[in-house]
Symmetry: C2
């Protein structure tokens, strides 16, 4: 399964699975009459954004101005920075430059934030749209639905173009939660949009998010959705039952470097050379471990160091010999892509291309 | 505390604290008659390795061949790859190239691994030293002390130069554990070295590791130690009481982007723009959270997304205004350095230099 010319550890993308995931989400959004604005922080890769746009995405979502710059330079014409930016003079200059080549929307979740953004943008404020961030239950950023009008009024007073509302139902990332979180998302977006309409705003965009809720389908108050992880799948999505093993497009190729039959009270385990510096170390308390192995679904990754993953091996299977190459599915694929400068693209088990992770590390 | 010309989020290094940490560890090792071979995976930065060597380090430790190549190209003459490499033909070619410019030692923890390495290196095997990895209680890689002779015999039969033993007492990373782990480290190294001597090997190197145990001082069977994190300190070391707030040389500059007084059942919190894509997301179960704030020791970082850290604010202190710039200490600084291409060097609150993280991402 791992081409012989790959040196481990390395990120491999099966391009046929990737394309199928892209097409499937695009078709689902089209069927539902929703805009698809994928979050490209997941992949940070120009080749993948181009495929998403070719499949019908209305634009892209990014988390930082730096990410927006990378994709705008590649010709993307419609970008939403889904983040409550605190705008200083240098940010304003960069936002201004972006509006010269694309339609730009930015998140805001406070009157002060809107006022600061408008002040820094000055006469150019009207060229930036804002979406008010609503807290739909994740309790991170965002205001409550009935507070959106206050923020929208401040944004309008600052000269910004108020286009609507957005939320990220991050509390969907827990077993049993996607359905409830999708309901919260729908309620919060509906209430917030209604409040803005009542206050006289023209609400054109109602933007929801998250792969777990987007995959549920069903009715929504949203006009567009911003899933990201769906292009690859990962161990979190597997364990949340939001994707199957066959949907996972990204794996990390690894080699068994240390091997231990049970002895001296220790468990039967191997160590592979993919650690937290390539997998990332997100590990929610409900996860079975730090990663999964597609060929050995009963194996458990019980510990992760920078260059070691400790894999407790199932009793039902022979401990693999040293030097065996194994594929590993990271828990959270967005972190994995941000750890490598390039990825190896595979089709039918053969390396066909290398893609640069063009926006890697663009944290601001 | 954060120079005005820094755009957040950004990694800042206080070079005076860095230099003090480097000098203090070097002096301690010299007093104890031990070689200091710092693990440079922590910083991956040429300027810092040069400072460590100038302060008396006997060489450096790395985790991968790629890291070794970066530092060897900068003139480092003595490198230990503290990892049980599984050597294929391309690895052998790279190891050979390294031996042309520096003294090279490599870890091994199996007879099969030693045999494979010797086979791939062929007549050049004698130019690579090996240290047998011993498991001193971390239960990751490494053999039990009484198994070292079998591995050493295989290495010698493969033509490799057996130089001694090494261990990493990673179980020191838990409150109350450093003293016990240092005892385990000492016992395991002593037993393993004695077994090799009894079998007729000339044991020149007995190598221990870990900042928590190295900082304890005291007697040891080791001839050299390989701490890494001591140069910067981090929130794990703080919470393990292995460094003080004043010893922390690396912080991440962040900005308050979202602010929430208690309301609707939610806790009083701010969100800052340093998330897991700059802090890293290591979070041992004993840690108080995902990071610490040096100016607000009672604040708790309770959640971390890719670009958001949620900080539950102490009742004793005013919630800071939006736009406030705060410093954040990551839990595990080795991950932070691997997430950025460059760091901002500060002296007395003024930016004095930018350093490239030259070995960032060199996972193989």
């Amino acid at each position: 399964m791992i081409p012989a010319d790959i040196r481990t550890p390395a990120v491999m993308i099966d391009v046929d699975i990737l394309d199928r995931n892209i097409q499937r989400m695009a078709a689902s959004m089209q069927d539902r009459g929703l805009g698809l604005r994928p979050h490209v922080k997941t992949h940070k890769t120009l080749e993948i954004a181009r495929r998403q746009l070719a499949a019908g995405a209305v634009g892209i979502t990014v988390a930082t101005i730096g990410e927006a710059e990378v994709f705008a330079a590649d010709g993307v014409k419609d970008i939403f920075i889904a983040y409550p930016l605190w705008v200083e003079a240098d940010h304003a200059a960069r936002l201004r430059a972006l509006t010269a080549t694309c339609r730009l929307a930015v998140g805001v979740d406070s009157a002060e934030g809107a006022t600061a953004m408008g002040r820094q943008l000055g006469p150019d404020a009207a060229s930036v749209e804002v979406l008010i961030e609503v807290d739909s239950g994740h309790h991170r950023s965002g205001v409550l639905p009935d507070e959106t009008v206050e923020v929208a009024n401040a944004a309008a007073a600052a000269g910004l173009g108020v286009a609507g509302v957005f939320t990220f139902p991050g509390h969907s990332y827990k077993p049993g939660m996607p359905t409830g979180a999708a309901g919260n998302e729908n309620d919060a977006l509906g209430q917030a949009a209604a409040a803005l309409v009542s206050a006289g705003f023209d609400v054109r965009t109602i933007s929801g998010g998250s792969t777990p809720t987007a995959l549920l389908g069903g009715d929504t108050a949203a006009t567009e959705l911003r899933p990201g992880v769906y292009v690859f799948g990962d161990a979190q999505q597997l364990e949340l039952e939001r994707c199957t093993w066959d949907d996972v497009a990204l794996t990390v190729a690894a080699t068994v470097v240390s091997r231990h039959e049970a002895r001296g009270g220790n468990v039967r385990r191997v160590v592979v050379d993919a650690g937290s510096k390539i997998l990332g170390s997100d590990r929610p308390d409900w996860a079975t471990g730090y990663a999964r192995l597609p060929e050995y679904p009963e194996a458990r990754v019980t510990a992760l160091s920078e260059h070691h993953a400790t894999v407790v091996w199932p009793e039902s299977s022979e401990l693999p010999p040293l030097g065996t190459r194994l594929r590993v599915i990271p828990n959270h694929v967005c972190l994995t892509m941000n750890l490598v400068d390039e990825v190896t693209v595979v089709r039918n088990g053969v390396v066909v291309e290398q893609w640069a992770v063009a926006a890697r590390g663009r944290n601001n």
